[in-house]
């Protein structure tokens, strides 16, 4: 349980909302007013895929102390591969998420790997 009061939590939400809003708003505003250079568009085709991979790799291979996980993540690795195959074959977001959750549940909670 946290030692902060609800008022602290309220201000935390407000500050986090501001911090979340700034990078969502200003780049969007800037580039709807000006012509985007061609190189920027070409580059942007590689940004989402790099970011999503980075987020996946972080949650599967890196622990909360920023060290490489050497044990306890085998179930997640296998589940991640399974989700990748399901996503590629079916192109269904719901199916990918549900299969991933069930798979990791079996590996982590039942098989303990």
């Amino acid at each position: 349980m946290s030692s902060m009061s609800s008022m602290d939590h309220f201000w935390l939400v407000i500050f986090c909302a501001i911090v979340a809003f700034i990078p969502r708003f200003f780049p969007l505003l800037f580039f709807t007013k000006r012509k985007i250079p061609e190189w920027f568009n070409e580059w942007m085709r590689f940004v989402p895929v790099s970011l999503f991979t980075a987020l996946v790799v972080k949650s599967v291979f890196i622990d909360s102390k920023y060290q490489i996980m050497t044990s306890g993540n085998l179930g997640m690795i296998i589940s991640a591969i399974l989700v990748g195959v399901i996503a590629y074959r079916t192109r269904s977001m719901t199916l990918s998420v549900v299969v991933g959750l069930v798979s990791v549940m079996i590996f982590v909670l039942v098989l303990h790997i």
């Binding site: 349980m1 946290s2 609800s6 602290d8 939590h9 309220f10 935390l12 939400v13 407000i14 500050f15 986090c16 979340a20 700034i22 990078p23 969502r24 708003f25 200003f26 780049p27 969007l28 505003l29 800037f30 580039f31 709807t32 985007i36 920027f40 070409e42 942007m44 085709r45 590689f46 940004v47 989402p48 895929v49 790099s50 970011l51 999503f52 991979t53 980075a54 987020l55 996946v56 790799v57 972080k58 949650s59 291979f61 890196i62 920023y66 060290q67 490489i68 997640m76 991640a80 989700v83 996503a87 590629y88 192109r91 269904s92 990918s96 998420v97 991933g100 990791v104 549940m105 909670l109």
Partner: protein, 253 residues
């Protein structure tokens, strides 16, 4: 597609898979925020104002380890910085929209509805900015309601953190696969993975994610430009086959 289908229903159908996958994640997030000491009202507020699964999970887990407020906000800044990249990649589809629209659109944009809208804008010529905003508001509704219900369920449920976190991971895997258009993209993914591990371990901060993303995407851009100019027949530029479509349909694109 049915011809006389009203707009709100058509958009709702587009957003439905996302909305449904938000329910288990939102429920779990509500439970975690409750465990971190958030009341129902605050959980509703953060779901609307921050509207980011990753951010809310991070806030919940940092509150439970009693991290100071400044640290949490700084972490938030680095985590949310990625939206600068997402926002600017959508901007070419939102040209000429008035400021209040851009404001509202930016306010409710997140990874998942960005992916839905980016895919729609890229593949559907008739997709309108107003419909994109509606996608955001539908997903916001699904997310907030799921969070509130999760908060209400609260301590009645015990949920394994690593299992719940994986819902988000599965979502990101799906989105990465959907973005994989050429063989070169696979190479960029691999590079991004290696860079992510290196920079996270070295920098000990989520800023490593930003650095890895920037480097991998620039590498992809420069390699593609080089190949198009010097080796246009390179097998790295081959497109990836979408298994749910017949081959001849893809050739028409």
């Amino acid at each position: 597609m049915k011809k006389n289908e009203p707009n709100w229903l058509m958009v709702l159908r587009t957003v439905m898979p996302l909305g449904l996958s938000y329910i288990p994640i939102g429920l779990a997030c509500g439970v975690l925020l409750h465990a971190a000491g958030f009341n129902h009202l605050l959980t509703a507020l953060i779901s609307v104002m921050v509207f980011s699964g990753g951010a809310q999970f991070l806030i919940a887990s940092m509150l439970t380890i009693n991290a100071p407020m400044t640290t949490i906000i700084l972490m938030m800044f680095f985590l949310e910085l990625r939206y600068a990249l997402l926002g600017s990649s959508l901007s070419r589809y939102l040209k000429g929209q008035p400021l209040p629209f851009i404001f509202a659109f930016a306010f409710s944009m997140n990874d998942e509805n960005y992916a839905v809208n980016y895919l729609k804008f890229a593949t559907d010529k008739h997709w309108q900015p107003k419909q994109a905003l509606l996608v955001e508001h539908y997903s916001l509704l699904f997310w907030t309601v799921s969070n509130i219900i999760g908060s209400l369920i609260g301590s009645a449920l015990t949920i394994n953190l690593s299992v719940v976190d994986f819902a988000l991971t599965a979502l990101f895997i799906y989105m990465a696969i959907m973005q994989t258009k050429s063989r070169l993209t696979i190479l960029v993914c691999a590079l991004s993975g290696v860079l992510t591990i290196s920079f996270l371990v070295w920098m000990k901060s989520t800023l490593g994610l930003v650095v890895a993303t920037l480097l991998a995407s620039f590498a992809g851009y420069f390699v593609e430009r080089h190949l198009l100019a010097h080796k246009p027949e390179s097998h790295l530029l081959y497109t990836i086959h979408d298994p749910t479509r017949p081959l001849d349909e893809e050739a028409d694109k």
